[in-house]
């Protein structure tokens, strides 16, 4: 089936707006994606017709809301190859990773991460295993330091992937958990998560995978990957902000104690104690984001209609066009290889990333410039910041060309 880009773009109202009098070119998809009408309609439809509290009361509306919410869970489970009871809705990837850290790592525990990681897959682990101290100086009272963390960081190879051999060596120190990103939000290269999870299991460590950058871009099957936890966000895959997922392998989901609890997460409560509900409900206390779930289900429907394989091919084509275009500009250094996930991180000569990002923005081209919440990785790359273009299913080669034109202009203005 032909990839009908015109029709696809038509489904995203924001793509027809102008910025500074120029047609919007949205290339910050690794941060968040735009939303198709189908997602917006599903949320509006829920609030207009079915709004009630899911899993509360037996009235007809509450039943409808419950059905919509649980249907979203089923669709999500099917989408990533899990069972519905293994899908826990969270606010976002960060919250999912925080939950995973709280449930698997206690103070003093040893943890293995990688040098690729986003701050959201570093800080929750530091918080879980280290002791946290407020700065003794009054002037720096807002500064906290985390000390005594036994955290190892697996090194990365020049292609931007985690070095499996180093993982193997660092697993000899017997960490209780190995948490790593399926693909880096800066370099984009996709790690062989199945192989890394196998290594972890062999060494007796639980595996946690940050899939925020891969689920929107390729078929993911958590069961065949063999991970224990898998975290990702709805808003990077056309869904609304405010809803994400933590997949927890069944045996663990049944065995683990929840971090938060309250209404809806219990079977029975007495003053003397509580019996929790079964998974996944025991991990979802309080009123849930039913409208968000409805939107997310519509997003999955949209992605499935186009097909993940077709999306992957389209984005790879854009990545190639972008890299070729930037090569023609000259003096552009590209970091890593984000072919599959549509990420191109680069710097232009000695120009500051912020200046390049700003000039592109003036031209209507939305990029990300900065450390991308990856300060340790930036340090490793030897740069303070990079410019990042990230493509998705609705972008075009013409838009990749607009980026090159802007970069050329930045070079001209600033040197």
């Amino acid at each position: 089936m032909a990839y009908d880009i015109d029709n696809i773009r038509h489904d995203f109202p924001i793509l027809s707006r102008k910025v500074n009098g120029k047609h919007l070119v949205y290339l910050d998809n690794a941060a968040t994606t735009q939303k198709p009408v189908a997602v917006l309609d599903a949320m509006r439809e829920f609030y207009e017709n079915s709004n009630a509290n899911a899993h509360r009361g037996g009235n007809a509306l509450a039943e409808e809301a419950t059905e919509i919410y649980e249907n979203a869970r089923k669709r999500m489970a099917h989408f990533v190859g899990a069972a519905p009871s293994e899908i826990v809705f969270t606010r976002n990837t960060t919250e999912a990773l925080n939950l995973a850290a709280c449930m698997t790592a206690q103070r003093g525990a040893r943890v293995l991460l990688s040098q690729l990681e986003h701050h959201s897959n570093i800080v929750p682990w530091q918080l879980a295993v280290a002791s946290c101290q407020q700065s003794p100086s009054k002037a720096k009272a807002t500064q906290w330091q985390m000390r005594g963390a036994k955290i190892d960081y697996a090194s990365i190879r020049s292609n931007g992937k985690i070095c499996n051999q180093d993982v193997q060596e660092k697993l000899l120190r017997q960490p209780s958990v190995f948490s790593f990103s399926h693909a880096s939000n800066v370099l984009g290269a996709v790690n062989d998560a199945a192989a890394l999870c196998r290594l972890a299991r062999k060494a007796g460590a639980l595996s946690v995978v940050d899939g925020a950058q891969t689920v929107p871009h390729m078929e993911v099957d958590v069961h065949s990957m063999g991970c224990d936890f898998f975290a990702f966000s709805g808003h990077k895959m056309l869904g609304p902000t405010g809803i994400g997922v933590l997949y927890i392998r069944k045996e663990l989901a049944d065995a683990l104690e929840p971090v938060f609890s309250g209404g809806g997460a219990i079977e029975s409560v007495a003053f003397s104690g509580t019996t929790f509900a079964g998974a996944p409900h025991k991990f979802e206390p309080g009123t849930q984001d039913v409208a968000g779930a409805a939107g997310l289900a519509a997003a999955i429907g949209y992605l499935e209609k186009i097909g993940m394989a077709a999306i992957e091919r389209h984005v790879e084509g854009l990545h190639k066009a972008c890299v070729e275009g930037l090569a023609e500009v000259g003096g552009v250094k590209i970091y890593g290889n984000g072919r599959k996930t549509g990420i191109v991180s680069f710097n232009v000569g000695k120009l500051h990333a912020h200046d390049v990002g700003q000039i592109a923005s003036d031209d209507g081209v939305m990029l990300r410039a900065g450390h991308h919440c990856c300060q340790p990785l930036m340090k490793k790359l030897g740069v303070a910041a990079t410019v990042r273009a990230s493509f998705y299913l609705y972008n075009t080669k013409e838009e990749a060309a607009r980026l090159s034109v802007s970069v050329k202009r930045a070079k001209k203005v600033l040197s």
């Binding site: 910025v19 500074n20 700065s135 720096k140 807002t142 500064q143 906290w144 330091q145 500051h352 990333a353 912020h354 200046d355 700003q358 000039i359 923005s361 003036d362 410039a369 900065g370 450390h371 300060q375 930036m378 740069v383 303070a384 910041a385 203005v413 600033l414 040197s415």
Partner: protein, 157 residues
């Protein structure tokens, strides 16, 4: 903020910054970084008879930040300590001639922070609350970037 951030005066100062470089035998210096983008500015002052007899800066930063630092050296040279101390956020934005959005405001005000840190270390005084708010509100993200900040400060010592 988009209109013409890279106007001629800013580009002139960026391409040929005034008083750029480390100062030998400075009376005092101040160092400030913006962890958000890695802008890094050290401001040097030479104080003589209660006035700023010389000012310079070094570091690596974006065009807005570099231009602001360059303009600030011009602005404070020759001023009495009291007058130099009175140079604030409004004056820096006036010199730049642009009104940056919240993100780039941090870039624009970073040199002011480095300058004030230098001046106050010389005067042996604490920054006033209002002044602190004005300058620090623009770099409030530092509070959550404690590791980077302290690492940066160690490096500057």
């Amino acid at each position: 903020m988009s209109e013409d951030m890279y106007r001629e005066n800013i580009l002139d100062h960026y391409k040929k910054p005034h008083h750029c470089g480390k100062m030998e035998r400075a009376s005092c210096s101040g160092h400030a970084i913006n962890p958000f983008c890695g802008d890094d500015i050290t401001f040097y002052l030479k104080m003589k008879e209660g006035a700023v007899s010389d000012a310079s800066f070094e570091g690596h930063a974006c065009a807005i930040c570099t231009a602001a630092a360059s303009m600030l050296t011009d602005e404070v040279r020759g001023k009495s300590a009291a007058k130099a101390r009175a140079v604030g956020k409004e004056r820096v934005l006036e010199l730049l001639g642009v009104s940056p959005g919240p993100t780039r405001l941090k870039c624009a005000l970073l040199p002011l922070k480095a300058f004030k840190l230098a001046l106050y270390s010389h005067l042996g005084k604490e920054m006033g609350e209002k002044e602190k708010r004005e300058i620090l509100e623009a770099s409030e993200s530092e509070a959550t970037e404690a590791t980077q900040t302290s690492a940066g400060k160690e490096a500057s010592k």
